[in-house]
Symmetry: C2
Subunit: 276 residues, 2 copies
């Protein structure tokens, strides 16, 4: 007659992040159907706000009742309460934004505001693509390599130049020894690269001869080279110790650079804090 086998009732997650953490924590120790739920929801959390129990159940390939049980095991009273979390999380950021963007785009094609809307969109898409495609292993290796460098040499010309100037600024702020190769006066500072130094080279199609040449030279002299480029098949890939790629969405002939800069700062800050 004792009907209190209730597994310790967990408190419901209060934020989307807590939700993901809970999912990751419970997932391995779950029976089959419930694990299916966990995996599907982890991969499609964005759908929760706009789907019904039945739709999600189909997606996860479980009966609706299994999904129901799953919600309760997470600590929610039911599916609706869980959905509420996602609907509220969704509210502040996107809705007004998407609307404004639509209005901007509509305000006459070719108008400055419409152009701006396009670049904003390109930037956002680039950032999203980066989030999806980042190679965590290559990133950590690059950080390690740069953190171990004597001096970090920065090279990147034309459209990549703004990124290296920003890096130079960030490294300076963090007191990391770095040297910017800017090609001013056509001076060639290749002999500034000394054993134990590392080169951080950035180039995108159409690739800069000079950047690639410097990478090749550094590599030939046994220095580490971290390359930041657009594809795995970039000509700089063959001269790189570690290779980072960022998928940048162009609008017209111009690149938003958002993703590249995000990657560059993350790299710089990680290096700066690991040298300390």
């Amino acid at each position: 007659m004792d009907d209190l086998p209730l597994p310790p009732i967990l408190p419901a997650p209060l934020t989307v992040e807590e939700f993901h953490a809970r999912l990751a924590a419970l997932s391995p120790a779950l029976p089959r159907r419930l694990r299916q739920c966990a995996e599907y929801l982890a991969a499609n959390a964005g759908r929760i706000a706009v789907s019904t129990v039945a739709e999600l159940a189909v997606g996860a390939d479980v009966p609706p009742s299994a999904l129901m049980r799953f919600c309760q095991m997470l600590g929610f009273s039911g599916f609706s309460e869980m959905q509420k979390l996602f609907r509220e999380a969704y509210a502040p950021g996107l809705p007004d934004y998407a609307t404004r963007l639509a209005n901007l785009k509509q305000s006459g094609t070719g108008s400055p505001a419409a152009l701006l809307a396009e670049f904003i969109e390109a930037g956002r898409l680039s950032l999203e693509a980066l989030a999806k495609s980042v190679d965590e292993a290559a990133l950590s290796q690059s950080v390690q390599l740069l953190a171990s460098a004597g001096t970090i040499h920065l090279v990147g010309l034309r459209r990549a130049f703004p990124v290296v100037t920003y890096l130079a600024h960030v490294f300076e702020k963090m007191a990391v020894p770095a040297m910017l190769h800017d090609g001013a006066g056509r001076l060639d500072h290749r002999f500034a690269l000394r054993p134990g130094d590392v080169l951080l080279a950035i180039t995108f199609a159409p690739y800069s001869e000079e950047t690639i040449a410097l990478a090749q030279d550094a590599r030939a002299r046994g220095l580490g080279v971290v390359a930041l480029t657009d594809t795995l098949t970039s000509p700089i890939a063959r001269h790189a110790t570690t290779l980072l790629t960022v998928p940048e969405v162009d609008f017209g002939a111009f690149r938003s650079l958002s993703a590249t800069i995000a990657m560059a700062i993350a790299l710089a800050v990680a290096v700066g804090s690991s040298r300390r």
Copy 2:
């Protein structure tokens, strides 16, 4: 007995953009309650996917039945059909992205990947904030002013420097006469500013003395000054002919620059095409 006063039955919008266009077209000619619906939905279209009729009705301050009628007048069979449009539009972009981001952030606080996730997020928030806050009038005026310039002078130091270097690159590509004031060698090129020229000055807190001084000097000599800064109360505001602000979200001590660059390219491309 004739009960066919049916106003010409419009076809329902098939995309979110069509929806906005329809709204804008019908809105002015609508009776009071229906106009309230149109206005509220135009400003909060993002909410449609995640709200109930009752919630939206409260937001628009109309009874649910009015909202219902409104949906039907747009050509939908009812609210559910309209909501379907928004739920489907919502699906592809965000969900996978948000999920990946959550996973990245979780991969150990302080790890490079987690840092990257933060910067991606900061960049995206900045872009969204920019979309919401852009002052279209100031933007067009700035474009006109720059388009009428003899030579465009670019100034921006420290964290703003990457932006001006990118602008210099874009202007060069578009064959717009522009001069970059980079402070190299502490040379002061203020006498390069000639009548009919325009200065584009970029600075963020903590504001650069040099940038502000150059703007002040240009203004005193009767030149146009377009200022790109972070707030309306920036010290450069008093020296500006037109003022553009971008709300940039920082993470830690570092700025993502995404929004600033989006604004800068839009400006440059608009100027370039209007000079042609």
